[in-house]
Amino acid sequence: MADTILEVKNLTKYFKTPKGMLHAVDGVSFSIERGKTLGIVGESGCGKSTTGRCVLRLIEPTSGEVLFEGNDIAKYSAAQMRKMRSELQIIFQDPFSSLDPRKTVSQTIAEPMLVHKTVPKDQIRSRVHELMETVGLADRLINSYPHELDGGRRQRIGVARALAVNPKFIVCDEPVSALDVSIQAQILNLLKDLQKRFGLTYIFITHDLSVVNHFSDDIAVMYLGQLVEKASAEELFAKPSHPYTEALLSAIPVPEVGGPRRERILLKGEITSPVNLPNECRFAKRCIYASEECLKGNPPLREIAPNHFVACCKAEQFYQKNS
């Protein structure tokens, strides 16, 4: 059996709003093998960041299990969870707001080590230097404040900070979406190198499909709080079997003049409100293939081919069509 490091079962997060329950994450299940990367993609507001944060319990999940190395950390007390934070880390989207403006680079990187006492006090300084070198931050920046640095450097601080406690697992919550394209590549390569070097496992949350293909072993597509398709990266790109995935893939720009292009599928209409959802396929209102059948209940995620899960009642048809 494969070495599963993290397994999420039926993760749910509802937010109470004046209009009713907002289903941010609604029964999401997946698992990740050690040393692999799971990409989670979806449009804004589909619950991908909430999923990532619920896994780390930065947001308390409403229900569901989060098994990390076999232990359900969703049931851990706050104190137990704090200890676990040395193994599970997160890199945030916005490197501008996610760093304490009053702390220098070295203070920010050193804090997790002080909290978890993973490194003896007299060695923290040298460990900070080491981490800065690992993530490619010049030594002279050690006493700089975040506002003095550009986005790429700040994100490197975020990476160094996450690495400081030698985690096994890192949630990368859109780590490059706030950065310039040239710097995006640098940070992505850095993350990949680090994964190889330290055997890290990633959940990589993004809305950028070209990034996720390059980066992930498996890809999960989210729509309105649920997984609609999950498969290996190659399989998903070759044989998208959910109309939503198909539409997403068709939107990837091809950086080649006259190169082969997918037929562009334009989604119509607004995303359905995640508050008080009706019992029908959540994508039906925007789906160009929707029929009567789609309004008869929300289709569950099912395996239509080995390690290829789709939540669509016509999945087989699409699978056939694309293969």
Binding site: L58, R82, H147
Partner: protein, 326 residues
């Protein structure tokens, strides 16, 4: 940084000129003068005129003012019309009492409002938050002197636990300090709360939690420290205000401080005394505000870095550009 301090001190001069002239002018507008208070009831019109001449009150306002100012710049604040004592001596005699009361009120106010404001911000939108905000609003709306009278009624008259006035020992400090402290507390609690709310929503607090930092430390080290600047500003303004602003409370509790000195001197049209005391109060207020501005540098390392590069001159521009882009 020294240049900055110097600039601020130089700016103090026009402020003091304006304040002194205003006080002098307004006191002159008020009906009656010191002679009306000083002269015995059976004094004749000639006696009164003679007294005016002795005090120099028969000269025009502008001459009197210029005369006063020329003495002032030589460090002579003149003498009280009433007691003949030098103004400086009377002021210095009362100032420590007012400072003591101000400090005690500050302890009451900060001691109550910081915890309450933080508590409120942490429970934003709950009934606990609402209750503490209503309390803060009450503190703000209740007139100080009235609260003072009520406290006096309860603790001095009914229960007899504390003295109703005067200044002997710690016990007599408690009631006036609570009276002023609660008034200050209201503003400070609200400032603390809103400033904390601003910070609590910041992403870097989530970062700190993700690091595994305990909630207590997240609030104290990451949130409060970042929320401190507006809080310090308010504390500074209030502290500066106490020296002159405790007028009512000092009168209610017959606390022998500067506030009461000003009220008493006003009643007897003792122009040099009033002007002197107000000039000193203004100076104190300005110096406290300056100290607060300097304190920012210690609270916020970013501002400190700015001061440091100001000496360098040119690098300052880059700094500000960076700040603007951030």
């Amino acid at each position: 940084m020294y240049r900055y301090v110097l600039k601020r001190l130089v700016l103090l001069i026009p402020v003091l000129l304006g304040v002194s002239f205003l006080v002098y002018f307004i006191l002159d507008l008020a009906p009656g003068d010191a002679v009306d208070v000083l002269a015995p009831d059976d004094a004749t019109q000639e006696d009164r005129e003679r007294m005016r001449e002795e005090l120099g009150l028969n000269r025009p306002l502008v001459i009197r003012y210029l005369d006063y100012m020329s003495d002032l710049v030589r460090g002579d604040m003149g003498e009280s019309y009433l007691s003949g004592q030098p103004v400086w001596d009377s002021f210095i005699e009362k100032a420590p009492n007012t400072l003591l009361l101000g400090f005690a009120s500050l302890v009451v106010s900060v001691g109550l409002s910081l915890p309450l404001g933080i508590y409120s911000a942490n429970r934003h939108g709950t009934w606990k938050d609402n209750v503490s905000m209503v309390l803060a609003l009450l503190g703000l709306s209740i007139p100080n002197f009235w609260l003072g009278l009520l406290l006096m009624l309860l603790f001095a008259l009914r229960l007899g636990w504390l003295p109703s006035g005067g200044a002997d020992g710690f016990a007599s400090l408690i009631l006036p300090a609570i009276t002023i402290g609660t008034g200050m507390m209201a503003t400070l609690t609200r400032t603390t709360r809103s400033s904390m709310l601003d910070v609590i929503r910041q992403d870097y607090l989530r970062t700190a939690r993700a690091k595994g930092v305990s909630e207590r430390v997240v609030i104290r080290k990451h949130a409060l420290k970042n929320a401190l600047i507006p809080i310090i500003t308010i504390i500074g303004t209030q502290l500066g205000g106490i020296l002159g602003g405790a007028v009512l409370t000092e009168s209610v509790f017959s606390w022998p401080g500067v506030g009461r000195l000003i009220v008493d001197s006003l009643n007897s049209r003792d122009t040099p005394m009033v002007t002197g005391a107000i000039i000193m109060t203004t100076m104190f207020f300005s110096v406290v505000l300056l100290l607060v501005d300097l304190l920012y540098a210690f609270v916020d390392p970013r501002i400190k870095a700015q001061y440091a590069t100001k000496k360098g001159g040119k690098s300052n521009d880059n700094k500000q550009k960076q700040k603007a882009s951030a």
